[in-house]
Symmetry: C2
Subunit: 348 residues, 2 copies
């Protein structure tokens, strides 16, 4: 193994979360950011900022994938799920089995299905890949992990404290990630439940959109708390259908991330829901957002899975109707209020 004390830690992507993680890691290790855009690379190297985000002056950037891969052993890819496979394919020629890859992307990859071109798609487990599965499919990297938790980038960038979890089947991935990320403002848990953590991280964005919609209609904290509680039940059922166990959903990557995202106006997906509630349409909102709300895509994918596997997920179904079909929120709430739930907690 290469002497990781001397190696840089790599971040692929220069979105807000990537920058937040870079700023955390640079307190413990040298950090190298990969960005495809020359203007971002220049801005990081000369002005120590990207868009409105300030970076520690020690952080440097490159747009040379070969140099990046040769300089880093531990790499955090943090790019939107829609482009994740393409980006990983570009890196594949330069990646080796000694690389560790811990992604921070909260979405799912879709195989052989175009959400924009087909209304009547059927989605099965074989059409889905989590981000770590994409890495395993496209590269020679073996030691994969994911980073998940209540990690609103805007707060981490301000130096506010929080925790995260590194999920990986490899102790060495968890240990190394903890070493580079840990600080007295950022506690890093470890877990082996990578599939659950990845699916929870993706699905929670759907509930966050719903929470924003409720807020936009002024419906209060009680019903938001119910949405989160029952939404968690539905997330677990969808996760179970994809092969994940309950455990990750009940920890930092599940409840933790869900609560932060579904109660904060600093969350992109929450804000998306707020704007839907104000009557804007999806395309308008998409155009004006600097970073994509992953929940929109994840909701479409979830609907396909719910149909294929006959999953009881009335909240996901109603959110799909409200967001994509203009179904009135009042009617959706009436439907959910009268839904004949069998029991309060049905995943145990």
């Amino acid at each position: 193994m290469i002497d990781n004390e001397k190696k840089k830690v790599g971040i692929i992507g220069s979105g807000s979360f990537g920058i937040a993680i870079a700023n955390l890691i640079c307190k413990n290790r040298d950090v190298l950011i990969y960005s495809r855009k020359n203007e971002n690379v220049d801005s990081i190297n000369h002005n120590h900022k990207v868009k409105e985000y300030a970076l520690d002056p020690k952080i440097i950037a490159t747009n040379d994938a070969s140099f990046f891969a040769a300089s880093c052993e531990l790499i955090f890819p943090i790019v939107p799920s829609e482009h994740f496979r393409k980006v990983i394919k570009e890196f594949a020629p330069y990646l080796r089995p000694y690389h560790f890859m811990v992604h921070g992307t909260k979405g799912l990859d879709l195989i052989n299905i175009d959400l924009n071109n087909s209304k009547k798609y059927t989605i099965t487990r074989s059409n889905i890949a989590t981000m770590s599965e994409v890495i395993l499919q496209e590269t020679s990297v073996l030691r994969v992990g994911c980073l998940s938790g209540p990690n609103l980038a805007s707060e981490i960038l301000k130096g506010l404290p929080t925790a995260t979890v590194v999920a990986s089947r490899f102790d060495e991935v968890i240990d190394m990630s903890q070493n580079v990320l840990n600080s007295n403002r950022f506690h890093v848990f470890g877990t082996y439940e990578i599939l659950g953590a990845e699916i929870a991280g993706a699905l929670k964005n759907v509930i966050a959109m719903g929470s924003g919609i409720l807020d936009g209609h002024g419906l209060g904290k009680n019903i938001q708390a119910m949405l989160i509680t029952r939404g968690l039940n539905e997330m677990i059922k969808i996760g179970n259908a994809l092969g994940a166990s309950n455990r990750a959903f009940l920890g930092t990557a599940g409840i933790g991330d869900l609560i932060a995202t579904a109660t904060s106006t600093n969350s992109r997906n929450y804000t998306f829901g707020l704007r839907i509630a104000k009557g804007e349409n999806i395309d308008e909102i998409k155009k004006s957002m600097t970073e994509f709300a992953e929940g929109i895509r994840t909701l479409q994918i979830s609907m396909g899975l719910i149909k294929t596997y006959n999953i009881h997920a009335p909240i996901f179904v109603m959110l799909h109707k409200v967001i994509f079909e203009g179904y009135p929120l009042e009617k959706a709430i009436d439907y959910l209020m009268e839904f004949p739930y069998d029991v309060d907690v049905d995943f145990l």
Copy 2:
């Protein structure tokens, strides 16, 4: 059994939550409120209000316990935990085995221990009674239950939608409660896990105080979400020590109630935490609150249990230090950040 269609539904207590529940039930059944204070009884019967809370004009009140008990079959006692046993004792002579009692109090009863007079108390399970246990100990009533969930009274009073759970070992208690409470604004789940629901409802107030403290220091949504996630773990451990299973903690009465209370400034316990963060002392805050923050008492009781049963609950311990011993919040957060947690989810 008495014909419950013709019987009134009784509410003991005229605090904000009691009034909120009365307003919900009166859409389905006649409601009789018991209040000891003549001024409240008069105000309800003549002005249809108590303090700032408006009541449906159909709701009537009495201060005659005997008349109250004879008029009602299903009774909801909703009084502070500190006075609960005393109130139930006063009703005991008039209660019969045909009465159903479903309480809405989120606290614990303490037996043979005075929190104010002894600093070095030891608290065991035998010093604790849940509110339903108090009813069973003091009266001939057998069919007990509790009402719990994300039920901020201020929101229910405004007609905002939410859900609740009735926990009881008796199907007939769950069924009758659902019949009188259900509406298209208020979904009533049922569960048999009464002990878990009662303990979760009490303990969540401690986490709500902590969440208010974090908010008062401007520490953001991420760390609040972590507090709730890890706090839930600790609540479950304390619950397990008292004989409760995990299930109720993961549903409406657990996560649901916890999230609403720990993210809303409309919660008394949250507000208490906010004011502690601003530097006020406990006695000042107590004096100026119209309704008692149950979490203060529950935190004291919890500390006794944590010591007795050697429970790993660092958040509860730190909150006790911050609230009762003036320990600096920064130090408490540092301690929790560096706490050697073994795993992310340790209750499964």
